[in-house]
C-alpha cells in the first residue's frame, strides 16, 4: 500500500481509490468479524477474498451484535495483504471516540473508511444499551473529509502532525422510504465529501436504473464513485425474507421464482422426508442459482452509466466471492498499487 501523495490528486493512496481513478470497474467485498477474539477466523476469511476484490469492508458491530472491532480485524486484514474498508457507525461512539479510533486506524495502515449511521441497538444482542448518535453519517463524512482536506479536528483545532487521509465512503439506500428523497440524500453525502458510495443490495435492476437516472441528472456520478451492492441468495426463503422484512430491499418475484424452481426436485416434501443428502443437494442447487443470479446482476449493473463497480456482500459465505468475481469476468483484479510500488 502506498502512502498519501496529494500532489497527484490522490486523496488516500488506497488501492480502491487507484482502481477507481484508473477507470477500472471495481469490486469490493465484505468480511464480518467473529463474535470472539479469534484472529484466525479473520485470516481464514481474508484468504478466501484476497485477489478477488480490490478492498474488503470490515463491518462495525453489524446489526448491533458485539463482534471484534472493525479496526482490530482490519489490522489483521492488512497483515494478510488485503486492503480493508473500515466501517464506522455513529451508534457506539461519540465524536471524540470516532476521531481517536480513526487516528489509530490510519496509523495501522487503513486507508478506506465507510461512514454509516448504524442499525439501532434494539436489533442486536445488547438491546438495553444506551446509544450515542452524537453525529449522523453525513456529519461523519464531513468530519473525516475536513480532517483530511482542512487538517482540522471536528472542533476546528488544527492537526499538529500527520492528518489521517482516508478514501471516504458512504452508503446509499436507493429503495428506502421516502424514495423520492433518496437521490437528494445521496447528494448530501457527496456534498459532505463522500468519495465513493456503496449501495444497499440491488436485485431489481429496472428500479436501480431509474434511481441512477436521477443520480446522473444531478451529476452525482461525476463527483463520486458509485458501487452497486449485490449479494448471492442462499435460498428462496432468504429471498422472501429480504423482500418482506428488510427495509429498502426490493426482490422481484421472478428472482424468487428462479430460486424456487431449482429446488423443484425436492419440493412438496416434508422436512423429515428429506435425507441429509437431499438437503445438501437442494442447498447446493439453491446456492449455485444464487451465484448465477448474482453474476447476471453484476453484468446488468455494469451496463448502467455511472456505476463504477460492485460491492459484493456475501457475509458468512465468503467462498461465494471467487466464483462470482470470476463468473462476472472481473478476475483478475487490477494490481495497481503493486505496479506503482514496483515502478
Amino acid at each position: 500500500m502506498t502512502t498519501s501523495s496529494s500532489n497527484d490528486g490522490n486523496l488516500s493512496g488506497s488501492n480502491l481509490e487507484q482502481v477507481l481513478r484508473a477507470g477500472h470497474f471495481a469490486a469490493t467485498g465484505e468480511l464480518g468479524p467473529p463474535q470472539s477474539a479469534d484472529g484466525e477466523e479473520i485470516r481464514h476469511k481474508a484468504a478466501l477474498l484476497k485477489g478477488f476484490v480490490d478492498a474488503v469492508n470490515i463491518t462495525d458491530n453489524q446489526t448491533a451484535i458485539v463482534r471484534m472491532s472493525s479496526i482490530g480485524a482490519g489490522t489483521i486484514v492488512v497483515q494478510e495483504g488485503l486492503e480493508p474498508v473500515i466501517q464506522m457507525t455513529c451508534r457506539d461512539r461519540n465524536r471524540l471516540a470516532i476521531q481517536s479510533d480513526l487516528l489509530g486506524a490510519y496509523a495501522l495502515g487503513m486507508r478506506n473508511l465507510l461512514c454509516l449511521t448504524g442499525d439501532h441497538q434494539i436489533f442486536g444482542n445488547h438491546p438495553d444499551s444506551k446509544n450515542v448518535f452524537d453525529m449522523d453519517s453525513i456529519q461523519l463524512v464531513k468530519m473525516v473529509a475536513d480532517m483530511r482536506d482542512e487538517g482540522i479536528f471536528e472542533c476546528g483545532d488544527a492537526f499538529k502532525g500527520l492528518e489521517p487521509r482516508f478514501f471516504i465512503g458512504a452508503a446509499a439506500a436507493p429503495f428506502a422510504d421516502p424514495i423520492d428523497f433518496r437521490p437528494y440524500r445521496l447528494a448530501k453525502k457527496v456534498k459532505a465529501g463522500a468519495n465513493f458510495i456503496q449501495t444497499q443490495l440491488v436485485y431489481d435492476v429496472p428500479a436501480f436504473t431509474a434511481y441512477m437516472e436521477k443520480v446522473r441528472g444531478m451529476g452525482l456520478h461525476e463527483q463520486t464513485y458509485i458501487l452497486a451492492g449485490v449479494g448471492p441468495l442462499k435460498s428462496p426463503g432468504m429471498a422472501r425474507y429480504m423482500k418482506n422484512n428488510v427495509p429498502g430491499i426490493l426482490v422481484p418475484d421472478e428472482i424468487i421464482a428462479r430460486m424456487t424452481a431449482v429446488g423443484a426436485p425436492w419440493a412438496g416434501k416434508k422436512k423429515d422426508e428429506l435425507t441429509r443428502e437431499d438437503k445438501r443437494a437442494r442447498s447446493t442447487a439453491w446456492k449455485e442459482e444464487g451465484i448465477k443470479i448474482c453474476i447476471e446482476l453484476i453484468q446488468q449493473l455494469r451496463e448502467i452509466k455511472g456505476v463504477a463497480g460492485v460491492h459484493i456482500m456475501a457475509i458468512e459465505w465468503e467462498q461465494a466471492v471467487k466464483p462470482i468475481v470470476e463468473g462476472a469476468g472481473l478476475y483478475p483484479r487490477p494490481a495497481l498499487a503493486e505496479e506503482e510500488l514496483a515502478a
Binding site: C90, R91, R95, T117, G118, D119, H120, I122, F123, N131, F133, D134, M135, D136, S137, I138, Q139, K142, M143, E154, A171, A173, A176, D177, P178, F181, Y184, R185, A187, K188, K191, A192, Q200, P247, G248
Partner: protein
C-alpha cells in the same frame, strides 16, 4: 406536558416496606392530565394499598392528598403537617415532584409512585406520544415543526436513515419515522430545499450532555429582591 405511568402495586408495596403511616401525594398538573397521579389516582392507590395491607394483616395507615403542583415549594407548604406525620411519602408526582418533596422536607422519606416517561402529548384517547427531548436549542424551525431529536430513534439531523419503511421507523412498525413526517410536511409546504442543507453536528452542551442545566433570569431575580 410531562407524561408518566404508575408503577405496579407490587413495586409500590416494596418501596413502602413496613411503614405504618403512608401519605400518598398526588399532583394536579401534568400527571393529572395523563391519568397517572392526580387526585383520582391518589385515592385509588391509597385504597389499593389499604386493601393489600388488610389482606396481609398489617396495620398500615394510608391517607392521600393532592396538591396543585408538586414541583413548586409553595404548594408543598400547604401539606407540611400531613407530610410530617407520615413515615413514608409515596409521591404520585413526576420525578420532579418527588425531588421537590425530598428537598423541601429533609427529614421525610419519599419514594416515587410513577415512572416519568417523557415530554409529550395525548394523540388519541388513551395514547400519549413523545414530542420533545428538551435539548435546549430548538431546531423545529429547520424541520417543519417535527422534532427529529425526540422522534427519530437515532436523533438524525440530515434526513432519513435507510431503515425508514412505509412511514414507520426501523425499530418498530408502531413507531412513526420522524423523517418521513418531516419530508411529507416540507413537501406539502413546498419547502423541501431546506432538507438539502448540511446540518452540522449538534451542540449537545445545551442538552443533558452538558451537565445539569439551570436557567438564571437576572431580570426576575432583581425584581424579587426589590420587593
Amino acid at each position: 406536558m410531562i407524561v408518566a405511568e404508575q408503577k405496579s402495586l407490587e413495586e409500590l408495596r416494596s418501596l413502602i416496606g413496613d411503614a405504618e403511616n403512608v401519605l400518598v401525594v398526588g399532583c394536579g398538573t401534568c400527571v393529572t392530565v395523563c391519568f397517572a397521579g392526580g387526585s383520582r389516582e391518589a385515592a385509588i392507590v391509597s385504597s389499593s394499598l389499604r386493601m393489600a395491607s388488610k389482606l396481609n394483616g398489617d396495620k398500615m395507615q394510608v391517607r392521600d392528598v393532592t396538591v396543585q403542583r408538586q414541583c413548586e415549594w409553595e404548594y408543598l407548604d400547604e401539606i407540611e403537617e400531613q407530610i410530617s406525620e407520615a413515615d413514608v411519602v409515596l409521591s404520585l408526582g413526576c420525578g420532579i415532584g418527588v425531588q421537590a418533596i425530598a428537598e423541601h422536607f429533609p427529614n421525610t422519606w419519599v419514594v416515587p409512585g410513577l415512572n416519568t416517561n417523557f415530554l409529550g402529548m395525548p394523540t388519541e384517547q388513551g395514547v400519549w406520544d413523545e414530542r420533545c427531548a428538551a435539548c435546549g436549542d430548538c431546531i423545529l424551525g429547520l424541520t417543519g415543526g417535527i422534532c427529529p431529536i425526540a422522534r427519530c430513534s437515532k436523533s438524525l439531523l440530515n434526513g432519513p436513515c435507510g431503515g425508514s419503511e412505509d412511514g414507520h421507523c426501523e425499530i418498530d412498525p408502531e413507531v412513526d419515522c420522524a423523517w418521513q413526517l418531516i419530508y411529507d410536511r416540507l413537501n406539502r409546504m413546498g419547502k423541501l430545499q431546506v432538507l438539502l442543507d448540511l446540518q452540522p453536528p449538534k451542540n449537545w452542551r445545551t442538552s443533558r450532555d452538558g451537565g445539569p442545566r439551570r436557567i438564571v433570569r437576572e431580570d426576575l431575580r432583581l425584581l424579587e429582591e426589590e420587593e
